[in-house]
Structures are given as C-alpha cells and as structure tokens.
C-alpha cells in the first residue's frame, strides 16, 4: 500500500522526535561527565556543554582517594548483595507456596502478604519500632526490613504458574519431596526471572539513601547515594553562601570553589556501575514488567 503524504510527514516527524528524545535523555550525563573532567574554577565561568574545556583528573582523584566514598561503596555493595539474596529466598519461597492450589490456608497467606502493599503504618511508627528492635544505626536496617517484596513475589508466581506442571507431578510420583522438586526442577527453569528480580534488587539497594536519612547517624554506615546527597546539598549551601558573599562583599576565598566539579565526579562514579552494565542486561530488567502486565 502506498503511503499518503500525511503518513510520510508523520514518519519523518516521529524519527526526529525520537532523536530529540535521545539527546534530551543523554545530554545531562555527558554534561555531568564534562563538568567532572573540567577544572573546577573554569566550570564556574559557565559554558561547559559536552566536552571539558580545561581537562583535569583532580576531581576524580579527589573522589577516588576519599576514604569515606570507598567506605560508603563497601557498605552499599554489602547491603546490595545481602538484601538481594534475602529477597530471592523469601520471594521464591512464598511464590512457590502460592502456586500450590491444594495447600491449606493458601488464600489466607496470600491476603496476609498482600494487605500491607495497600496499607502501611508510615515512617514514624516504623522508626519507633526500629528503635525497639535496635535497628537504628545498624547496618541490618538496609537488609532486613526489605527482605520481602510482594510485587516481586507475584511476578515470580506468575512465571512459575506458566511452567508445565507435568514435570513436578512426575518428580513427585518418583518420590521427590517438595523441597527437592523446587531445587532440582523449578529453580533451574526460572533462572531468567530470578535474574530480573536480582537485578532490580541490586539496583534498588545501590540507589537507596532514604533509610540512611531516616535511621542512621553513624557516618561509617552511610550508603553511597547518601554521600552523594550530602555533596549535592552542601554544594547548594556553598553556592548560596558565595552569592550572598558577593552581594555583601565578604571574602569567600576560603570556600573551595570546586564543589560543583567534585559533586559531578561523585555522581558519575556512583552511577557508572549501573550505566555500564545496564545496556547488556536490559533484556532482564524489562522482562519482569512484561510478565507483570500479562498477569494484570
């Protein structure tokens, strides 16, 4: 069928729009990278776009030699690994049990686990509870409270119920118990969905900073993004001080003017693991949503 003029115009417009979207999505990263690689004082003159004007590595050096950054990266990595393992164990267990239609009390458990995703107590009662449980100022606050995620459980369950039941029945008849069936038959079949859940959990833990804000004062337990948050808030405060100083004529030379550049270096360093691995793992990231959509 021949394309009408309107369709041709639309196709061209659509391509242009997509290119524009790409530019808008990518530009801030490139801009950030350019600022991070540029001399801090020079950046304040403005006009940095996608390449550094005065190339320097000092900003990255400052970040990569900072003990607090490495400590935060360690805390974050440890909590990402532990919380991911815990999430997989609790969610796979719950999801597998949910697929057993004959199991007594099954619907009670499903309701019990589902209700909190619609009603929650809010942060203050949670805060008070954590104080009783000694989770305040403890590394465990990053791992334990988030160990069960209802949404992930539903996605795994949906995936499990798409598997053929004949295999399970056969193994049961051969005398395997439910645990053996789960480990030897079910788990090997659901590697793709486990990869998805694992990636989501790792990214969520890597990006998390609000638990630190709410529950942690100990600077040895800061997460990476919390440190980035502090740098951002500080550089805001410094820029306010500088502007006020310019108006009142106070000498501000003692304030390090490179905070903007260091902040950019911190953002680049802390997001780099995700940005570099994401394009190769995109398939796994996306497929969970598709499974969730099918269920709905």
């Amino acid at each position: 069928m021949k394309k009408s003029l309107g369709e041709k115009v639309f196709d061209v417009f659509n391509v242009l729009l997509m290119v524009f979207l790409c530019v808008i999505m990518i530009y801030p990263y490139i801009n950030q990278l350019a600022i991070a690689l540029n001399d801090g004082t020079d950046t304040m003159m403005g006009g940095i776009t996608i390449y550094p004007r005065k190339l320097t590595w000092v900003n990255f050096e400052a970040i990569l030699t900072s003990k607090s950054i490495w400590k935060a990266a360690g805390v974050t990595a440890a909590s990402a690994i532990c919380s991911t393992v815990l999430i997989l164990v609790t969610c796979v267990g719950a999801a597998y049990a949910m697929t057993k239609k004959q199991m007594p009390l099954r619907s009670f458990f499903i309701w019990f686990l589902m209700i909190p995703s619609y009603i929650s107590a809010g942060i203050i009662p949670t805060f008070i509870l954590y104080r009783y449980l000694h989770l305040l100022n403890s590394w465990w606050v990053y791992v334990l409270p988030g160990a069960f995620v209802f949404y992930n459980t539903i996605i795994i369950r949906t995936y499990l119920s798409s598997l053929p039941t004949a295999l399970e029945e056969a193994a049961y008849i051969e005398g395997a118990n439910e645990i053996q069936i789960l480990y030897k038959i079910i788990l090997p079949l659901c590697k793709p969905i486990l990869a998805t859940i694992a990636l989501w959990s790792v990214v969520a833990a890597w990006n998390s900073w609000t638990p630190t804000l709410y529950y942690v004062n100990d600077s040895n337990l800061y997460t990476l993004q919390y440190v980035v948050m502090q740098l951002i808030k500080q550089s805001e405060a410094i820029s306010k001080m500088t502007t006020e100083a310019m108006m009142t004529g106070t000498d501000m030379t003692h304030v390090k003017p490179t905070s903007e550049a260091i902040k950019s270096a911190a953002i680049i360093c802390s997001t780099l693991p995700i940005i570099l691995s994401y394009p190769f793992l995109q398939r796994y990231f996306v497929q969970g949503v598709t499974i969730g959509a099918v269920k709905d």
Partner: protein, 319 residues
Amino acid sequence: MNNLAKKLDQPTHGTYWKDLGRRFSRYKFMYVLILPAVLCALIFQYLPMGGLIMAFQDYDIIGGIGKSPFTGLANFKEILSMPKFLGAIKNTLVYSSVTIFLGTPFPIALAILFNELKQQKLKKIVQTVSYLPHFISWISVIGMFYAMFSINGTFNDIMAAIFGSGYERKNILCDPDSFLSIIFWSGQWKNIGWNSVVYLAAIAGIDPTMYEAAKVDGCNRLKQVFYITIPSIMPTIVICFIMGMSSLVNSNFEQVYGFQNVYTQEATEVINTLTYRQGILNGDYSMATAFGMMQGVVSFLLVVVSNAVVKKGTGMGIW
C-alpha cells in the same frame, strides 16, 4: 506407585478432615518456604501498625506507648487547624494530581510512537536510552538537574541564546513557583521510558489481524491508533490509573526532598517531607504519626473508591 500417587492427589475419598490432614502433610514444606515472607510482613509491616496508637496519644518518648496519655482526636484537630500542615496537604494534592492526570498520557503516547517507528535499530536505541534514567537514583538525577539549571548551566545558555542579551539568567530550581513544573518534568524525564514498557507490552499483545482488517476497511494509521490500539490497551491504562490513584495523597519523597533547597523548602513542603521533618527531625512523634496516618487512610480509600467507580463504569478493576 502410579495408583498411590493418584490416590494421594485426588481428594475423593474420606472425610473433609482426613483430606485436610493429607493436604497438610503433603504441603508441609510449603509452610517452611512461606515462613520467611510471613515473618517479614508480620514484623516489618504489621507490627508498626500497632504504633498508630501514637496518633491518638501525646507520645512520651521515655514512657513509650504504654505510658503515654490518650488525647483522642486532638492531634488530628491540631493538624487541620495549622497552616503548615494544610499547606503541605494542598501542595501534595496539587503536585500529585498534575502528575497523575496530566502525566498519564505521556508514556502511553511514547509507547504508541515507539510502535509506529519503522526503523527497528533506532527503536532499540531510543528504548534503551529512555529506560536508563529509571535506574539512576533520584538524588543523582537531581544533581544533574542542578548542573543543567545552574546560573552558568546549559539551560540558561540556551535561553540566553534564544532571547539575546536582555535575558536575565536565573536558577529556576531556587524559585518556589517553578517547583510544580520541575517535579512534573523531572518525573517525566526519569520515568517516561520505563512507564511506557507496560503499554508497549500490551500493544505487542494485540492481534495483528485486527490491523489487517482495519487496513482493508480503509483505516489510515491515525484511525488505527484511535480505533484499535488505544481501545485494546484500555485495560492496562485503567489498571495503571487505579494504582496511580493511591499516590494522589503521596509524593515521591526522594524527588521532593532532593529538589527542595533553602529558597524553596518552606513553600513546597508536602505530606511526606513534613512528616519526616516533624517526626524524625523534631521528635514530634504523635503529630507526625497522625499526619502520616491520615495520608495512609485516604490513599487506601482512594484506591478502593476509584476501583469501584471504574468497575461500575467499565467492568475493569484490580479486584
């Protein structure tokens, strides 16, 4: 062996209790498997609900819930009389309703445009690029926005190039009046791609013969979008909308707290940020709990009511 399995599997003989016992013993491992999830929900999700009692008390930090005096609805009355809290409620409603009502069509439109794109390679690239910001933490995104919108940043450079030397450079992130647009557009920038995934999956599930039939009937592509694509993905749109309704009284804490600064904080406080500041920073646990509880109850009611309304109107719903 086969007979035994058949006997075990089919609850035909025996009394109800006998059958129940048989099912219990067959699935006893399942209780072990579901136990960690149940414990987690019980301790970290149900147990805090007991703390909601604080909303009706004048909470005493030393005595705890057991020894704090009850004050009835005093906390709620105080909240509804204080401008600080009312302002936060108003801000929350304004930011969220704009995000939900104006924001919903964007990812749907993007999914449709993706679907209409003939260049497969370009489509792959744009999809990959547009999903990426979803996986970057809000605070890093906010850092990038600060660099983009700073006085010497790209945004002001572009505006100066368009409006010439008469343009006065300013940082819109320090202007409380721009906060709504910042929240809206930064939310779109971060999530438009990722939110389109679910619609794209729904579009992929449409039977291609419907389009064939429409073509034969002389529908052009625009008509196909309005008469086939959109009606076919309506169930997905409705479900996403109902789920979104719960956030009408909720804000994204990371986003709002991150964008707030000394210039904008007072005028842009929302329920979530005020609960945090009132409760955790100022230690006014009772008021903050009451405030959070009002939010939680309204948000739950919104899901229930919008689900009921949509179900009555269209027969679709989440339960």
